[in-house]
């Protein structure tokens, strides 16, 4: 157990370092002169020199990399070129919205996937099963931004129940929640379709096993067998997919924020691209990648908590 954790932690740190090198290389080395990229070719030499000095571009590459990593670890991501405030300030300001969207999307995804997936497995080969499988198959092919547009068409344009986009700020809690309903639904429906399929096949796999027969032979109700015996055992592949899907959930959050004009990190990243604000883009890409890597690490460790058989092993 200890050795397992040590190995996983080491791998996690190495992955983070590799990711940071890749991000740094793409953003700082590929463009040649980031100052020129930011300011454009019509910039004066004086302005370029100023910016180079400001960004520390006159130092050697490895010093710049270490400065950047060191800063990032202490919460200093440099200064946003377009907003003229520290990037960390921008992030702190927008993080709550992005996290709310991602977490509510994730929770709804899991609720949808487990109910539909287990329900389909319990009715294997019956119309309910076919229905879930059909919806899931379609759901996998539907892009989240198109689903968002359809939801807006129905609930905002036609029925006018919910706002089509925008965010009134947290000072208006009801308005804030109302404007998160459609984005959350759009995020969860697409993610849930993938996960429901995995849940179903994983549950079907487990339902064939002997200990499920034992549970039935012990006279437990169908519901009890499903939720207490089948589901925990089906969780291992489900958790794997949740971990793998987290990358697409992050992507989905970025897309959905842009569809609904929500002022979160995903919207910020696109504003920064149009503003050629390289320090902000670099910080945000690193942040998103780090979140994905961290979640995958947590999932790895979760296995051991779910499955006691792994505890003794290395």
């Amino acid at each position: 157990m200890g050795y397992f954790l040590f190995r996983r932690t080491l791998g996690f740190v190495l992955t983070l370092i590799t990711v940071s090198v890749v991000v740094f290389a793409v953003m700082n080395v590929l463009p040649g002169d980031p100052a020129l990229t930011i300011l454009g070719i019509e910039a004066t030499d004086e302005a370029l020199d100023n910016l180079r000095r400001q960004l520390g571009l006159n130092d050697p590459v490895h010093v710049r990399y270490l400065n950047w990593v060191g800063g990032a670890l202490t919460g200093d991501f440099g200064t946003s070129h377009s907003f003229r405030v520290p990037v960390s300030e921008l992030i702190v300001e927008r993080l709550p919205l992005t996290v709310s969207l991602a977490v509510s999307g994730m929770v709804l995804t899991i609720i949808l996937a487990l109910t539909l997936g287990i329900g389909a497995a319990a009715n294997h080969g019956k119309p309910g099963d076919w229905g879930v499988m059909f919806i899931a198959q379609i759901g996998i092919a539907v892009p989240s931004f198109w689903l968002s547009i359809l939801l807006v068409l129905l609930f905002a344009v036609t029925l006018q129940w919910l706002p089509p986009g925008g965010f009134p700020g947290w000072s208006d809690p009801v308005g804030a929640l109302r404007s998160l309903v459609l984005p959350t639904a759009a995020l969860a429906l697409v993610q849930g379709a993938v996960l429901a399929r995995v849940t179903r096949s994983s549950a079907l796999e487990v339902m064939r096993l002997d200990y499920v027969r034992t549970a039935r032979a012990t006279g437990f109700s169908r519901q009890r067998v499903l939720w207490r015996h089948v589901l925990p055992n089906a969780m291992v592949p489900i958790v794997t997919i949740v971990g793998l899907q987290f990358a697409s959930l992050v992507t989905g959050t970025i897309v959905i924020e842009n569809v609904f004009y929500l002022p979160g990190l995903g919207r910020l990243i696109f504003q920064s691209i149009s503003n050629r604000d390289l320090p902000t883009v670099q910080a945000l890409v690193m942040l998103f990648a780090a979140i994905v890597v961290t979640v995958n690490f947590i999932v790895d460790v979760l296995y051991v908590l779910i499955d006691p058989r792994l505890k003794g092993r290395n």
Binding site: D210, T214, R216, A217, T218, G219, F220, R222, I306, R309
Partner: protein, 327 residues
């Protein structure tokens, strides 16, 4: 428990054909046959756990109550409380994510409404009864942490939790070492006697069945071909299949030399068991039987009482009987 002309069909494949059995309280019945003969299907019938695709006909009565065709929720009330079952692979039959204590306590808490501490006390008593040493620390272990024999004992404890009057053991010793298997058989026999609990012991191992049971039913191709007191059937088998099955058993009396001075050979049944959907319509054993007559493949032999409780279904016996009656 009483089975009358119980059949199970999966489409055209008949897994069990008109099985008749009577299981009295406290008695021990063995069911033997090769794999695929329908003995496990018979066991599942007693639990009402035939797979959805299977069609059950005939009558299954438990204490006089008709259960054939009863819906799942009716059967569920009888499982664990009236009939319980243990399975072949004790590792696979235990939920790997639950501590074995929780597994055994679950039916006590769910079915009997016991509190956690009361359930724990009962689980300890059960572990003691089935001979699990150091039950206190065992309760906290996971299935992968204990040996195969101990796992089978845990499964037996689980099956006994709600004091069933009938225990169905489907190949309970097949996956175990020979000496561990013997101790499990003796445990089952002792439990049946002390609890006055009926035992249905399903196995392909004749020695195990001989040791465990008083009555025996021999199955082939979904039919019960011969039944009766265990000693009687194994000592003086009448059905050609039973005779073949005993001949195919490597045992003490197959060794050495016969009276004619020739070395005794292991007699095997020619051919292999055909798939369920290719079974002959009449006697299932026709085509492999060495003493086959014309009517065998066409007409189904009826069970014939041969005295001393022995019953066999074979045209040859019917002929001999009819011949004896005419003279």
């Amino acid at each position: 428990m009483q089975l009358d002309r119980v059949s199970v069909a999966f489409g055209a494949a008949v897994a069990l054909r008109e099985a008749c059995l009577q299981i009295e309280p406290g008695t021990r019945l063995g069911i033997v046959g090769e794999s695929g003969c329908g003995k496990s299907m018979l066991g599942l019938c007693l639990m009402g756990m035939i797979p959805d695709a299977g069609k059950v006909s005939g009558s299954i009565r438990l204490n006089g109550k008709e259960l054939a065709g009863a819906p799942e929720h009716v059967w569920r009330r009888h499982r664990a409380r009236d009939v319980a079952m243990i399975f072949q692979e004790p590792m696979a039959a235990l939920n790997p994510l639950k501590r074995i204590g929780d597994t055994v306590m679950e039916p006590l808490e769910v079915h009997e409404g016991l509190s956690r501490s009361a359930a724990r006390a009962r689980a300890l008593a059960l572990f003691d009864e089935v001979g699990i040493p150091d039950p206190d620390s065992r309760l906290r272990q996971y299935p992968h942490e204990i040996s195969g024999g101990q796992r089978q004992r845990v499964l037996i404890a689980l099956a006994l939790a709600c004091n069933p009057s009938l225990l169905v053991a489907d190949e309970p010793t097949t996956a175990l070492d020979a000496n561990v298997a013997l101790r499990i058989i003796d445990l089952l026999v002792r439990l049946s006697e002390t609890r006055n609990m009926a035992l249905v012991f399903i196995s392909h191992d004749l020695a195990a069945v001989a040791r465990a049971t008083q009555q025996i039913a021999v199955m082939y191709g979904g039919d019960i071909v011969e039944r009766g007191p265990t000693a009687q059937v194994l000592g003086a088998p009448r059905h050609p299949y039973t005779i073949g099955l005993l001949g195919a058993r490597p045992g003490l009396d197959n060794r050495g030399r016969g009276p004619d001075g020739r070395r005794k050979r292991l007699v095997t049944i020619p051919g292999t068991v055909p798939p369920l959907f290719e079974l002959p319509a009449g006697c299932r054993f026709s085509g492999r039987c060495t003493r086959e007559i014309a009517s065998c493949a066409l007409q189904r032999p009826q069970p014939l009482a041969l005295g001393a409780g022995q019953v066999a279904a074979c045209h040859l016996l019917g002929q001999a009987h009819a011949g004896a009656g005419a003279s």
